[in-house]
Symmetry: C2
Subunit: 195 residues, 2 copies
């Protein structure tokens, strides 16, 4: 399984689809999910995308898109965001899985990472960071987890947590890309290795 974990400031309430940027950069979040899960005319197989919403009013919430079960999702930001909205709405009445392949939980970034360390081992988890080791020199397996920050990055406290847990920092070179571009490139680097 290829997994992505996005630390975001996305809001934890329903939001307006006409103004995604002001919902804690829900546009960025939706763009990242779309980039991670879609190929031309198909969904990737065996991909899980987790976005941790740390915005108001009741953070954290973790929303997971699992491609092997997903239905009726389109690549445009508005559509992807609408599914997050549905998940948040249903969670407020206690439902954790209101659409196929989309899950929502009261779960923090750190708890999610801990679970992934147990599942994959910390050597298969990578934090995409400009000063990390060049991805082209890093050994990876098909079972890999990639951690990313939104436009504001991952806070010091959470970065220290990653460091304490020996999560390797991996870089795509000297240029700082949009998070969605990072995801496209990571998928490409993995695809190139046949992973």
């Amino acid at each position: 399984m290829r997994e992505f974990i996005l630390f975001s400031r996305g809001v934890t309430r329903e939001f307006k689809l006409n103004d995604l940027p002001n919902a804690g950069r829900m546009d960025l979040i939706a763009r990242c999910i779309s980039t991670a899960i879609f190929l031309s005319y198909s969904l990737r197989k065996d991909v899980k995308f987790h976005v941790v919403l740390n915005g108001p009013p009741s953070p954290p919430l973790t929303v997971t898109f699992y491609t092997n079960e997903l239905k009726n999702v389109s690549p445009d930001e508005r559509n992807v965001a609408s599914h997050i909205n549905i998940a948040i709405k249903n969670f407020s009445v206690g439902r954790k899985n209101s659409e196929p392949g989309i899950y929502i939980e009261k779960k923090s970034f750190e708890r999610l990472i801990k679970e992934k360390i147990e599942e994959y081992g910390s050597s298969n988890i990578f934090y995409l960071y400009k000063n990390g080791e060049d991805i082209r020199n890093v050994k990876m397996k098909s079972d890999s987890v990639f951690i990313l920050g939104d436009n504001k990055g991952i806070p010091k406290k959470e970065e220290d947590f990653l460091s304490r847990n020996k999560i390797k920092m991996v870089s795509l070179g000297e240029i700082e890309y949009l998070t969605s571009q990072v995801i496209a490139i990571v998928n490409y680097e993995m695809d190139r290795r046949g992973l």
Copy 2:
């Protein structure tokens, strides 16, 4: 200059920002532009993105985003699409440059390609196509033009035109990516070479 040319079915009239997919996949177009021109917290320098709109009612129109002049554009699809809408609206009253760095003309895909061949020479123009030569084996200069199709691809007539003009076909491997993902990867491959 790094240039992109997207053959699209985007509509040539004003469209609703709440339904980009039904405006000839204006979501795809906006996502491609955003991916091509943005980096984290900045615009790339020296990038031109041309989208040829071949949808109804009065095709073709070519809209160009030139990063060295652009202002007030955000990476979300809705924002990028809103600038295309403004360009189309102003073109209907004869204005070809209503916002900084955004141009619109009555120009066809073939005419645009011919201009680029005169400007760069056909050996510096590349058509991204699954059965082309692996991009990692293709020599490129910083002055390069990349041609892409939307979700439906480039029609036979236009493909034949590219072939007659000796435009090289270049591939990213065996996987068929979304056009926006292709753009992220092409930029990355160019960046990696320091171009």
